[in-house]
């Protein structure tokens, strides 16, 4: 079960109340992702049924946004911005250091299934460059020395 019957009923009701069901695509995808960690092909098909759209119409949105995961990811996804502001403030070095600390390349998941490392084109935090996001927590003005502590904090948050 990707979603409970109750969740499906609730989402369908919200879709009915929306004049344009397409507005609800991200909400439904997030619900599926929150419940399963990622959105599988079956997840896209379920979303299409809930929304009354074709699977392609859902997939167009799902694949546009890099915060919807269409492949399995670790428990926490690290998005590190590589756009112009963050790049000019040293994001390349951050990315390299993260790869060292985690022992993985960009796009990979740590062997313990904890972190997936992904570059992203913007986190909307240009004023706080360089920025990265782990799970749903945003870290701004990140210095390279802080990275170890940030990762440790995120690890303990999960275990506690």
């Amino acid at each position: 079960m990707l979603l409970s019957e109750k969740q499906i009923t609730q989402l369908k009701r919200r879709v009915r109340e929306t004049p344009h069901p397409r507005e609800m695509i991200l909400d439904v995808l997030h619900a599926i992702q929150d419940a399963n960690g990622w959105v599988s092909d079956e997840g896209v098909e379920l979303a299409a049924i809930i929304l009354g759209l074709s699977p392609l119409q859902v997939e167009e949105v799902a694949t546009f946004y890099d915060k919807i995961y269409r492949r399995p990811v670790g428990r926490k996804v690290i998005h590190i911005c590589d756009s112009i502001c963050c790049w000019s403030r040293g994001s390349e070095a951050l990315m390299q250091r993260l790869q060292q600390l985690l022992g993985i390349a960009a796009g990979e998941t740590t062997i313990d299934g904890m972190f997936t490392l992904l570059p992203t084109c913007c986190l909307g935090a240009c004023a706080d460059a360089p920025a990265l996001r782990i799970g749903k927590t945003l870290y701004g003005k990140v210095a390279i020395e802080q990275l170890e502590a940030i990762l440790d904090g995120e690890r303990t948050e999960v275990s506690s």
Partner: protein, 798 residues
């Protein structure tokens, strides 16, 4: 009307025209990808940059995004502009593979042309290229994503213009992918247009793959023969094989696009079973022998039984020239037993439709521009697919589309749907013809009243009817309704869907002549001894096949002139092969009375692919081209009458003889065609007696056309077979429950042509009390023909 200067030439264009189109009027082609006349501008490809020297905007701008304004001075080829374009094209080419020699688009590739036009000759980029996995998109379209340049034309065509929901754009930025959610055939019946709009080799014609380069093709402007709309097409042939069809632009009819039935229905011309030689009985004979046998027999019968013993029949597939000469020949023979359609209902329906005032007749262009269209008894996707696309364009501009039909009519757009039984359609139309008195049957009051007031209030209202379901009376009622719902400033126009590409021509020529029922009567009574069928198939098209078979069997001579192996051909005593549309010239009159000429694409002959059996061409020498004996039906008729076979003389004679065809001799195949000068004289004197009141709880059988499988010629095209449904019957859920039947299971349908085993489909949006079957040639459903009153039937578990 702004006036501007482009490359030192002055041009005045209508308000709202963009600079790219303004330049085109001067014959200046600005390189571009994403702009398309039918799809509009998005300014995405950045290739159509021009330099604005004077006027409201200055500097380098995208010409497709800037509306023409007074005082503009534009340079399309300054050094700066050329450098800009060269850079853009170089970017677009970074990921494009160097596979032009094996790419099917080669030679007709906009990317090739624009790369040259943009001045990008030598590739500097040497890095790795982005690659993709392709999808299987079904039998019509090949997918090669590596060649994509992200112009978005395919998505704009498929989703926006055609209303498809299963093909789109995935990903973002460098990761864009144009395709489906998963492998599978494209669902839209207009998917083939992707081939025409893709500016490079991503989406190409799978049925034409690896067959020819465009410069090896014989091409000419032609007309699609697979329904009554008369869409403009450009067929291409090589080695005596018709290899493809693509859309041609006619802004009055199809616009820029065509449907998949039209695009992939071309295979009939190459059909391996196509009869290519004259036959006497089943024996192959020469033209001279066959013609002599025909003349002798006709003379003998004429002397023995009088000229009235010879019946002549043409069809809606025959050209105007063929129909006219058949009429001439009948007159020369002295026979009045002449008919232009084997199906009496369709014959009379077309005669009524062709009597509509011309200023009340809608073209597809009028459909695209209407603000209200009410479809009564019309199923566009089955009966005239491009009408559905025209309706979609109207709906996109805000038009209201209402469908009133007993069948579950599907359209690729948002529309209102009313399931109404066949009898009530007539009552509704009669009510609409007296909107002030609101004489609607009790159950129709609300719908009828609201439709009448909407039609009266609309700016450009339209009534659209299928003559199959409306019948002659319903067609007449729709014309009266249109008259009644017209205001002086806002006339309500009509569009009628007819049986074939030249139903209209036959209806004009038929005057008060008999319909095929009375010819059959003549055969049954032994008065008619010979029947000459010019591109007509009375056995398959007359609704009562048992009757037509028995009547044809009584003939002394059945002579058939045709390009397809029809049912009637199997019974023929004499056979004369005729050319396919693409192998000849002629004129067809579409359902709005538009005369459209078509040119010869290639000469008839057995395709080399067939005679060579896929190997080296045969190594024997002969002066004759194998299989090249078919001649145009009008040419044969001319020869039989001892006339010259000059088309222009013939067309001049037709227009001199009948003022309605004025302008025929000046008709150019490349043009927009020309409306006839006057409609048919109105008369419904040959009304057949329509009875058939059935018990209310008895199931009625309705036979309807379907997109693939109903139309004779396209059904002979092998590439459509994969998309043709297998025989089914459709029931309302209530009836399925009443008879305890389940979806997808085999059921036994008792019909006047016997008990048929069919698969059950359940459709909630049809009227109850009715069983609907498609007309499917080559299946058990073949003897059932649309365009009749509903038949009695029963249904049970198989």
């Amino acid at each position: 009307m702004p006036t501007l200067i482009i490359d030192n030439q002055t041009v005045t264009v209508p308000e709202g025209t963009n600079v790219l189109e303004a330049a085109k009027r001067l014959g200046i082609e600005i390189p571009h990808f994403c702009h398309h006349e039918a799809l509009g501008s998005v300014g995405a490809c950045r290739l159509c940059a021009v330099e604005f020297r004077e006027g409201p905007v200055k500097g380098i701008q995208m010409s497709c995004m800037v509306p023409a304004k007074d005082g503009m001075v534009v340079d399309t080829g300054s050094a700066e502009v050329l450098a800009y374009r060269a850079q853009v094209i170089e970017w677009l080419m970074t990921n494009h593979p160097h596979d032009c020699p094996v790419c099917d688009e080669g030679g007709e590739c906009q990317l090739q042309d624009m790369t040259v036009a943009g001045g990008h000759g030598i590739r500097r980029y040497t890095g790795p290229k982005r690659t993709y996995q392709n999808q299987n998109l079904g039998p019509f379209i090949a997918h090669e994503m590596n060649r994509c340049i992200q112009c978005y034309r395919c998505v704009r065509t498929y989703q926006d213009y055609c209303g498809g929901t299963d093909f789109g754009v995935l990903g973002s930025r460098q990761r864009l992918y144009f395709g489906r959610f998963s492998d599978g055939p494209l669902e839209s019946p207009f998917a083939g247009n992707l081939i025409d709009v893709c500016p490079t080799g991503v989406l190409t014609d799978k049925t034409y793959r690896f067959k020819s380069r465009i410069w090896d093709l014989q091409e000419a402007p032609s007309i699609c023969p697979h329904c009554s709309l008369g869409c403009a097409v450009t067929p291409g042939a090589r080695y005596r094989q018709l290899q493809r069809r693509r859309a041609r632009t006619n802004n009055r009819t199809n616009g820029h696009f065509i449907c998949d039935r039209g695009r992939f229905g071309y295979g009939y011309a190459n059909h391996p079973d196509r009869p290519r030689y004259p036959l006497l009985g089943h024996r192959r004979v020469t033209w001279q022998e066959a013609l002599a046998a025909l003349q002798n027999k006709l003379q003998e019968l004429g002397e023995l039984f009088g000229p009235g013993s010879i019946g002549l029949l043409t069809s809606s597939r025959a050209t105007l020239e063929t129909q006219f000469l058949t009429k001439r020949w009948a007159a020369a023979l002295g026979s009045d037993q002449l008919c232009f359609e084997a199906h009496p209902g369709r014959d009379l329906g077309a005669r009524v439709a062709a009597s509509q005032r011309l200023d009340r007749t809608a073209s597809l262009e009028d459909v695209r521009n209407c603000d209200l269209a009410v479809l009564i008894g019309a199923d566009p996707l089955s009966e005239a697919p491009m009408l559905a696309l025209a309706l979609r364009q109207a709906a996109r501009r805000g038009a209201r589309i209402v469908v009133v039909d007993p069948r579950p009519v599907e359209l690729p757009l948002a529309y209102e749907r009313h399931a109404v039984s066949v009898e009530k359609l007539g009552q509704l139309l009669r009510g609409l013809s007296r909107p002030q008195q609101s004489e609607f049957p009790s159950s129709m009051e609300e719908l009828g009243g609201s439709l009448a007031s909407a039609l009266l209030a609309a700016k450009s209202p339209l009534l659209i009817g299928g003559t199959d379901l409306l019948g002659p009376q319903g067609t007449e009622a729709m014309q009266q309704a249109a008259e009644a719902c017209s205001q002086p400033e806002t006339p309500c126009r009509t569009m009628f869907l007819l049986a074939g590409p030249n139903s209209f021509g036959g209806a004009l020529l038929s005057a008060e002549g008999p319909c095929f029922s009375s010819l059959l009567e003549g055969m049954e009574q032994g008065r008619i001894k010979a029947l000459l069928c010019f591109e007509a198939d009375p056995l398959a098209d007359y609704p009562d096949r048992k009757r037509s078979r028995a009547a044809l069997a009584r003939l002394d001579m059945l002579a058939v002139f045709d390009c397809a192996a029809t049912a009637t051909l199997q019974e023929a005593d004499l056979f004369f092969p005729t050319t396919a549309v693409e192998e000849s010239t002629g004129t067809l009159i579409n359902n709005e009375g538009r005369m459209q000429a078509f040119e010869q694409v290639f000469s008839a002959g057995t395709p080399l692919a067939e005679s060579a059996g896929g190997s080296h061409p045969p190594r024997f020498f002969s002066r004759d081209i194998p299989g090249s004996e078919p001649q145009s039906a009008w040419g044969i008729l001319g020869a039989l009458m001892g006339r010259s076979a000059d088309l222009l003389t013939l067309r001049s004679e037709i227009e001199k003889n009948d003022h309605r065809f004025a302008g025929l001799s000046q008709l150019e195949a490349r043009g927009e065609g020309r409306r006839i000068a006057a409609p048919r004289q109105y008369s419904l004197s040959h009304q057949p007696n329509i009875s058939g009141i059935m018990g209310s709880d008895q199931l009625q059988l309705l036979v309807t056309e379907t997109l693939y499988g109903s139309e004779l010629l396209s059904n002979l095209s092998s590439c459509l077979h994969e998309s043709t449904p297998s025989a089914f019957v459709m029931l309302h859920p209530q009836d399925a429950a009443r008879f305890k039947l389940e979806e997808g299971k085999k059921v036994l349908l008792g019909t006047p042509v016997g008990d048929l085993t069919l698969t059950l489909r359940i459709a909630g949006d049809m009227v109850p009390g009715m069983a609907i079957v498609p007309r499917l040639r080559g299946t058990v459903l073949e003897p059932l023909v649309p365009g009749t009153e509903p038949l009695p039937c029963r249904i049970e578990k198989a």
